[in-house]
């Protein structure tokens, strides 16, 4: 049902499985999508709690669409997005998927899984690092080319 989500990391300080399963920006975008009805990229961008580039929001929404978390329809030249599942439905689904998988695998099989969770505590969000690196690269490029 829910594709492409990160492994749920229970030890990251949040009790919310959504927080652990989605990237930070994905979660923030989902929060905005959940808060309203149909929303265009620009609507989502203006309602985010921090400044994020339009193209970044567009890419994130596209990723959420591919993961099956939002649906979209064309309105004029742009897409408008709606959440498929409510926040509670998605949290319940993630939690039950995780627990079912863990219990079905037995204690020996669960050990590496738990070990991975512990390892992941110290791991920086790779997706975030990629995004930040892209930002730095773009800014460096912009400085190199001078003010436009």
């Amino acid at each position: 049902m829910l594709k492409g989500l990160r492994p749920v990391n229970w030890l990251r300080g949040s009790r919310d499985p959504l927080h652990a399963a989605l990237g930070r920006l994905e979660r923030e975008v989902m929060d905005v999508v959940w808060a309203g009805r149909e929303q265009a990229v620009r609507d989502v961008q203006t309602r985010l709690p921090r400044p994020v580039a339009y193209t970044t929001v567009m890419t994130t929404l596209d990723r959420l669409y591919k993961k099956g978390l939002v649906i979209r329809r064309r309105e004029g030249r742009a897409f408008v997005y709606t959440a498929i599942y409510s926040q509670d439905e998605m949290a319940a689904s993630l939690t039950s998927n995780l627990l079912e998988g863990l219990l079905a695998s037995g204690s020996a099989a669960a050990r590496p899984f738990l070990s991975n969770l512990v390892d992941a505590v110290s791991a920086e969000d790779k997706e975030l690092l990629d995004e930040l690196e892209r930002l730095v690269r773009d800014k460096r490029e912009q400085l190199r080319n001078g003010p436009r």
Binding site: S122, E124, L132
Partner: protein, 322 residues
């Protein structure tokens, strides 16, 4: 009961009372803070964080104790009830906690400092702080080590991964922490005896202060130069990757400033790249302002004979409280 004994017990009582009241006030303010509130000056946040303990010490030292010695007749029999004894015990518990935390922080910092095999790093010119630079084998990232006498530790892996320009601005960031005595301030915050530190509001305030100090050090390192800002942002991302992937040591004490702090990475990089890390134009002399306003307040209190009222209130509380 001697005058000395009553002075000690009642000082502890007033310390706890003022501490609780100011902690409650600061807690209300701190509830609205977030680590994204980095536009707040670290000095103001530090002042708020230290307000309960400082106010309690100032009140006891300049109002209660002088008034008690001035107006109390030696040899007056005093008996303290349950509430006053509980407040006394609260202050003793806070002081013990502060002492234990101070000892732990000093021991941890000293042990870590000695356990790191470092050597002076002198190949790059880093101005007047050059003698404080040390390279450490197998250490990830950079750290400002120590509490009073501090050294900037540069991990070998970080030195290899960063370009000269990135390394220079990353070191400038740690130098800014060093000049601001940030490790000593962290130590004081960590050990301050107050009720606020036991609450989520207090911890939120500490996180906001920490975020503000990091952003201020970034701004000082960058000095308004966009190219330096990009180099610092790039260094932050590279060190974050190093910490993730390298098998090197990621050591640090609770009172050391560390270049890479996962929770602040995104905020700092976005600020640097977005040009929001320029140093503020107006620098208010916060310490002088607070000290002068405190001196004026105390003078007014004594002129208005408030210490005598405090003495009478204390006597009434001794009689009335269970």
């Amino acid at each position: 009961m001697t005058l000395l004994t009553t002075s000690v017990v009642l000082s502890l009582v007033w310390f706890a009372t003022v501490n609780l009241l100011v902690s409650a006030g600061v807690w209300v303010v701190a509830r609205g803070l977030h680590t994204r509130d980095v536009q707040l000056r670290p000095g103001s946040l530090l002042l708020l964080r230290l307000a309960p303990a400082s106010a309690a010490v100032v009140f006891v030292g300049t109002v209660f104790l002088p008034a008690h010695w001035l107006f109390e007749s030696p040899g007056t029999p005093e008996a303290f009830g349950f509430i006053l004894l509980t407040l006394t015990a609260t202050t003793i518990a806070l002081a013990m906690r502060a002492l234990i935390r101070a000892v732990l922080a000093v021991v941890q910092s000293t042990y870590l400092r000695r356990s790191l095999q470092s050597r002076p790093m002198s190949t790059v010119n880093h101005g007047r702080d050059a003698e404080a630079l040390e390279e450490v084998n197998g250490l990830n990232g950079l750290s400002l080590a120590g509490i009073i006498s501090t050294k900037i530790l540069v991990g070998t892996t970080a030195r290899q991964a960063l370009t000269d320009a990135e390394l220079e601005v990353a070191i400038a960031h740690e130098q800014a922490h060093r000049r601001a005595w940030d490790n000593l301030k962290k130590f004081v915050v960590f050990c301050t005896p107050d009720v606020l530190g036991l609450t989520e509001g207090g911890r939120r305030l500490e996180r906001a202060w920490n975020a503000a100090t990091e952003c201020q050090a970034d701004a000082q390192a960058v000095a308004g130069d966009p190219a330096r800002a990009v180099n610092l942002a790039s260094a932050l991302v590279k060190v974050a990757r190093l910490v993730d992937t390298s098998s090197g040591r990621h050591v640090g004490s609770i009172v050391w400033s560390t270049f890479h702090q996962p929770g602040l990475l995104e905020t700092r990089v976005r600020r640097l790249v977005g040009g929001a890390s320029a140093p503020g134009a107006v620098r208010l002399p916060i310490v002088s302002l607070v000290a002068s306003s405190m001196a004026v307040t105390l003078a007014v209190l004594w002129l208005a004979n408030v210490p005598h009222d405090i003495y009478r209130l204390t006597e009434a509380l001794i009689r009335l409280l269970p």
